[in-house]
């Protein structure tokens, strides 16, 4: 699974992207965030308040209940500020 980070999520994690292999019980965005938070102090800080985090699964915006599976591209970022 490819995980991407943007904006202050990227800065806190300290990585723009990483390949991860979460265990089978990680089936949705919310559980993936909890699992990623345990990887480093930076990850923990980035995911300390999940309500601040938005996600995309395979380049489509996705809620925290959305399913994730091996092979997916999952991105985490703050609310967008385009335009």
């Amino acid at each position: 699974m490819r995980v991407l980070y943007f904006a202050w999520v990227r800065q806190k994690v300290g990585l723009a992207e990483e390949e991860v292999s979460p265990p089978p019980e990680v089936r949705d965005v919310a559980s993936l965030m909890r699992w990623l938070a345990a990887r480093s102090p930076g990850h923990a800080e980035a995911f300390a308040n999940p309500a601040q985090i938005r996600a995309a699964v395979n380049q489509e915006f996705a809620g925290h209940a959305a399913a994730v599976a091996p092979g997916d591209e999952v991105a985490f970022f703050p609310p967008v500020t385009g335009g």
């Binding site: 943007f6 904006a7 995309a56 380049q59 703050p78 609310p79 500020t81 335009g83």
Partner: protein, 149 residues
């Protein structure tokens, strides 16, 4: 089919407008909006980060929604990324239609939806050396919401 571009470079308003109307005699109006970097609060520069790949898809989806809602003869969205100085253009939205209202409304719709549905993030640099991420604004969500979903 909209023209979508995500690029570092500035855009050429006149050339993009011509491209929407060249050789056509059925276009009654072209509306445009250019978003520009302001120097509020001592801002020195703004850096736009985006999500390559998803950005183009998200903008294409927003443009397709505009084309579904209004009878457009053409639609162009160009969004820049990278470091921009005050006064520099950030985004261009152009809409063409037989009728002025379709062009004007679709243009307003596109810029509202880009604010809240295109994966860009802005980091601001200030004269005192600080930087900060621009936070999403409730009024942008409200502006998006007025168009329904």
């Amino acid at each position: 089919m909209a023209r979508i571009a995500v690029q570092r470079e500035a855009f050429d308003l006149a050339a993009e407008t011509r491209a929407l109307t060249a050789g056509r005699v059925d276009v009654g109006g072209v509306a445009s909006f250019i978003g520009i970097c302001r120097a509020d609060d001592g801002l020195l520069a703004m850096t736009l980060e985006h999500y390559p790949g998803m950005t183009e898809r998200a903008i294409a989806a927003i443009a397709a929604e505009a084309e579904r809602r209004w009878p457009l003869s053409g639609c162009t969205v160009i969004h820049r990324y990278g470091r921009l100085l005050p006064g520099e253009p950030i985004v261009l939205v152009l809409t063409a239609s037989r009728h002025r209202n379709a062009a004007l409304e679709a243009c307003a719709f596109l810029i509202d939806w880009l604010k809240t549905r295109a994966p860009f993030w802005k980091s601001e640099e200030f004269a005192d050396g600080t930087t900060r991420w621009v936070e999403a604004r409730a009024e942008d969500d409200a502006a998006t919401a007025r168009w329904g979903s």
